[in-house]
């Protein structure tokens, strides 16, 4: 029972990290109709900027807090310099241009921070375990990720559901042309949304850094999962992204934690242990295919 709870917590922690990445991605694709492959680069930049600032300030919390406005500014700058020119173009051009951005950022990091990768230490006060239930320890840092991730998800839900900006964002996700016609400053909105997406991606990157080291291309693998999540959740829907991220997080953990034992009941032990990671890698895509058959626009997709 405790074991199940701990594994579920692991899934929640993974899901929340992926949600932070998917939130920005789904907003840019849903509202701005922009396919942004470079979103993973913002995740990487968040981690590298945080590494530098943590080194300068000698404090994890301070460095991480300063890294957030820095990634926001980076996002706004990227939007103004490159992304803005792509709105009127077709998706293929956007894919090509943002893929170019990935290469640019990877080389930039190689030039500035070197090829070897960096490691961010878990802050001292979180480098221990806490008892989530009496006698059940859980790493404090992972618990902190859950708290921060859940906090951001609630903040985002409030922002989207209760504020004027959120109203415009929701309107934009369901009919982009109409909000332009109603006199909303689209340019400013796009800038803001892109910057916001960058902050969430950066936050995910810097929080993942102490668990998985800071390295070139760290965002590329996770970006694919984030794309799967927004497709499952429905493009443009924050709620969909959240639910899909939670589901994908659980599936990943189930695949790693329970699948080998399940397979061992009818396969040889060694065949089961090498088949399990392969199958768990595929499970997420099977889910995506199933959801798309059932609901072609995703769980909470707006457009048909």
């Amino acid at each position: 029972m405790e074991y199940l709870l701990l594994q579920m917590l692991n899934g929640v922690q993974l899901g929340l990290l992926m949600f932070l990445l998917a939130a920005g991605l789904t907003l840019t694709l849903g509202i701005m109709d922009l396919v942004n492959l470079a979103h993973g680069s913002l995740y990487m930049m968040g981690a590298y900027i945080a590494w530098t600032l943590i080194g300068v300030t000698d404090s994890f919390v301070l460095g991480a807090l300063l890294a957030l406005p820095a990634t926001f500014l980076l996002g706004v700058a990227v939007e103004a310099v490159v992304i803005r020119r792509l709105y009127a173009r077709d998706h293929l051009t956007q894919v090509l241009a943002t893929f170019g951005l990935i290469l640019f950022f990877n080389e930039l990091v190689r030039a500035v921070w070197g090829p070897a990768g960096k490691s961010i230490a878990v802050p001292g006060f979180l480098n221990r375990t806490i008892e989530i239930l009496p006698g059940v320890p859980y790493p404090a840092y992972r618990f902190a990720i859950i708290i921060v991730g859940a906090g951001v998800a609630i903040l985002l839900a409030w922002l989207v559901a209760r504020t004027r900006l959120g109203m415009v964002i929701r309107a934009g996700a369901s009919n982009r042309r109409m909000i332009g016609a109603l006199g909303v400053n689209i340019e400013l909105l796009f800038s803001l949304v892109f910057g916001l997406g960058a902050v969430f991606a950066g936050l995910a990157g810097l929080m993942a850094a102490p668990i998985a080291s800071v390295r070139i291309g760290m965002g590329d693998d996770i970006l694919i999962l984030a794309l799967v999540i927004i497709v499952i959740g429905g493009i443009g829907s924050i709620k969909g992204a959240f639910i899909a991220a939670m589901v994908v997080g659980q599936i990943d953990i189930v695949g790693r934690a329970f699948l080998p034992d399940l397979l061992k009941t009818f396969m040889s032990s060694s065949a089961a242990s090498s088949a399990a990671p392969a199958i768990s890698q595929v499970l997420v895509y099977v889910l995506m295919a199933a959801v798309l058959v059932w609901r072609p626009t995703g769980l909470f997709g707006q457009r048909t």
Binding site: L6, Q7, N10, S119, P139, P210, I211, R256, A257, Q281
Partner: protein
């Protein structure tokens, strides 16, 4: 008749002038390793050791200067194969060496040893296939076969009385060999055997939670480089370091210790080379390396240093003339050089027959993390795939 004579004379003159020119052309060594990305630190350690070997040789092999072509496999089998192809086809190197990763070596193997009949010296990877049925006269190793190091660890765990063991490793060629290796010798109970996605999985939360629930006497891991750093950190973060000891191969070493720090103190591992092995060649290598770079070399570096010294011994015996490949292979096979691990012989499959030691992670007198030898686990060990190799 006159023409013919003239022709012969031309050829003779060309040869007379041509030969000294050829003697001056340098020996070319291709070196494939990972120089970018998260595992670049390993490639850097190897490159430093190759450069040190070059320095110790005075830049010459058998009286001839030699050149080294470094190629970055980017930690990807397909890139490694393409780079190896470039080395043998375009640069026409005399030797190809290096290779950290078994999957990269397996992808590049045929191109080098079969298609272009070039001598390949692995300075790390030792996949079971190459030790067994795929063995080749052009392949030599200055490291080990993948199964051997974990076999040494398994032997030691038997003598230490560790009753049950939880195995975790990455899901690729070397990971499978390593876990199979420890199972060959370890006689206690294997609680479970988990494979993780390679190379993208750096988060071991699910696995560590499983281990905590299974309560084994020990954890056995194989996670080279950056992955080892993460596993040890997360093992400590999860609090398991206080209850379940970690036994490892290739996961705590000179490359990972600066980042693992005190968390790794006291952990045990197996290795065929340790920086404190008491022989002259090793003392010179380790001291000069430390003097130059301020850090300890790793076995990756030691094996690369040996690979260059092995080539040099063959070139020395043949006075720099590497044109007859049969002779070169025969000289290499003698392993007639001062290895930093101490003398060894090549087995029928061209893998070393060598000792394996148990090492402990400790702090040196200056407070720097390192490893020291505490026991000999296996003596003159032959790898378990040698008998499957058709070569005699």
């Amino acid at each position: 008749m006159k023409n013919k004579l003239f022709g012969t004379a031309t050829i003779a003159t060309a040869m007379a002038f041509g030969l000294p020119a050829m003697a001056q052309s340098p020996i070319k060594v291709g070196f494939v390793s990972t120089f970018s990305g998260p595992q670049a630190a390993i490639g850097e350690d190897m490159r430093r050791s190759v450069e040190l070997a070059k320095e110790h040789l005075g830049g010459k092999m058998g009286g001839k200067p030699f050149e080294i072509f470094y190629e970055d496999d980017q930690f990807k089998p397909d890139v490694g194969k393409a780079r190896s192809e470039k080395l043998v086809q375009q640069d026409k190197v005399n030797f190809v060496a290096g290779y950290i990763w078994s999957n990269v070596l397996l992808a590049s193997y045929k191109t080098v040893v079969d298609e272009s009949d070039t001598i390949l010296i692995s300075a790390n990877a030792g996949p079971s296939q190459i030790a067994g049925e795929l063995c080749n006269k052009n392949f030599f190793s200055t490291s080990w076969q993948n199964d051997q190091t974990p076999m040494a660890m398994g032997e030691y765990l038997n003598t230490k009385g560790v009753k049950s063991l939880y195995l975790v490793g990455p899901n690729y060629a070397a990971g499978k060999d390593m876990l199979a290796g420890v199972k060959r010798t370890y006689k206690g109970k294997i609680v479970s055997e988990d494979y993780t996605k390679w190379p993208d999985q750096l988060d071991f939360s699910a696995e560590l939670t499983k281990i905590a629930a299974a309560k084994p006497d020990g954890i056995f891991i194989f996670y080279p480089g950056a992955h080892g750093v993460q596993f040890v950190k997360q093992w400590a973060q999860s609090g398991l370091n206080k209850t379940v000891p970690l036994y490892q191969v290739f996961s705590i070493d000179a490359i990972t210790l600066p980042q693992q720090g005190d968390l790794a103190l006291g952990t045990l591992g197996a290795q065929q080379w340790v920086n404190d092995l008491p022989n002259e060649a090793n003392k010179k290598y380790v001291e000069d390396f430390k003097k130059k770079h301020g850090v300890y070399p790793s076995y990756y570096g030691a094996q690369s240093y040996d690979a260059i010294m092995l080539m040099a011994s063959a070139a020395e015996a043949l006075k720099g003339d590497l044109s007859n490949k049969d002779k070169v292979r025969a000289e290499i096979k003698k392993a007639n050089f001062k290895s930093v691990r101490g003398d060894f012989k090549f087995g029928n499959n061209n893998f070393p027959i060598e000792n394996f030691y148990i090492q402990e992670a400790v702090k040196d007198p200056q407070g720097m993390m390192t490893v020291k030898t505490i026991a000999t686990a296996l003596k003159n060990a032959v790898d378990p795939f040698a008998e499957k190799c058709p070569m005699k």
